[in-house]
Amino acid sequence: MDTTAKVIDILAAQALRDPATIGPEDTLATLGLDSLGLVEVIFALEEAFDIAIPFNANDPGESGFDITSVAGLIGAVEGLLGQKAA
């Protein structure tokens, strides 16, 4: 399974949605995920990809991890995977 599908599966499980209904333009808000839902998503991503995501709930914008959209999340995970491989 590729990164995009895995990220969407994780978001779908948290949002209680069918993965097929989630697109790159979706946001945490459109998925109905609150701050606790977000930290659960981040935990699930770290576990699934064996990465460490720099995220502080106090200062989401400064964490350097894009959570503004599904596309952003996928890109951020790919970036961390690239760093791991490098």
Partner: protein, 401 residues
Amino acid sequence: MTRRVVITGAGTVNALGGDVPATLAAMAAGRGAIGAIDLPDLDRLSIRIGAQVPNWDAAARFDLRSLALYDRCTQFALTAAREAVASAGLTGPLGPRSGVIMGTAAGGIQTWEDNYRAVFQDGKSRVHPLTVPKLMSNAAAAHIAMAYGLTGPALTVATACAASNHAIGLAFQMVRAGMADVMLTGGAEAMLCFGGIKAWEGLRVLSPDGCRPFSHSRNGMVMGEGAGVFVLEARDHALARGAEIWAEVAGFAMTADASDIVMPSQDGAERAMAGALADAGLPPDQVGYINAHGTGTAANDRTETAAIRQVFGDHADRLAVSSTKAMHGHLIGATGAVELLAVILALRDGILAPTINHDGGDGACNLDVVPNVARRADVAAALSNAFAFGGMNAVLALKRA
């Protein structure tokens, strides 16, 4: 039967100091005790700062038989209780008109951790036979009751970060109502262990670099550990025995947000502060100091500031509001007890403990937070705020003796 209730003794151990005089001196000096922590498996934690009680040598403080029953949390509680009782000029057994109410969030978490490690990681098939009475959340209160012969009401409350304030508030109500003459009360916490930090890490609210309450640069809370215990006593009882009165506990209120499990509610905080003022019969403009919950998280400090402005109106700009967590860390279930010492510092000694590490507020945090340096003030009445996960709020109102 409604009686006035006073504080006649106090004890503590926390990262700032091993007793009340050392802690008050550190608060007055604006000294911070947050720094690098020392723990097994530290390399597996991403958060490596805290306000750890330094050089804690349990074996030098307690005999081996006792240590089989005393989690670090109980050790802190008994140490604070001993100082509290001695400073009040009391000696046990204090009997059926006395009791104890302690607050804690995680109780004997180090004992849970050590024994899980033994059976799950080390493959042991049995654990120490006294594991249950050592880890139970009411262990600290039980050992305090035994140490001083407190045979009236004895219990532990577990309301996370508000546990100490709930405990002290309930003890206040019991003495006021005539259910007891003397109550030992406060909180103890030893969650600054591998598993405790690991759990908090997951929530992503800990700061990796420092506690900066009400600052624009704030980025989370920093954990501490320790205990605080107070002797609450009916005023007539204290006067009859010639006890020194440190301050009067005048009011208490508790509210529930009943909304979100972790996000604070302005309404719940407002109602708790207004309720404590009403219970104490205090007009808002008589309050000179508030020891804020002030965790240093983005959400708490913004919400607490707004709630204070709503409750106090124009007087909010004439109030001093400081968070001493920047010095002693967030002691979770023990935090309200250690923070009540800052209230005593204000009421009894006329010194406002500062909010250290302050590098400028923002639009949402614009109260007089006594930035960085303590100052003198004539304070007749004060509040101490605690707002817990679970949306459980507890505010104490105190008056100068």
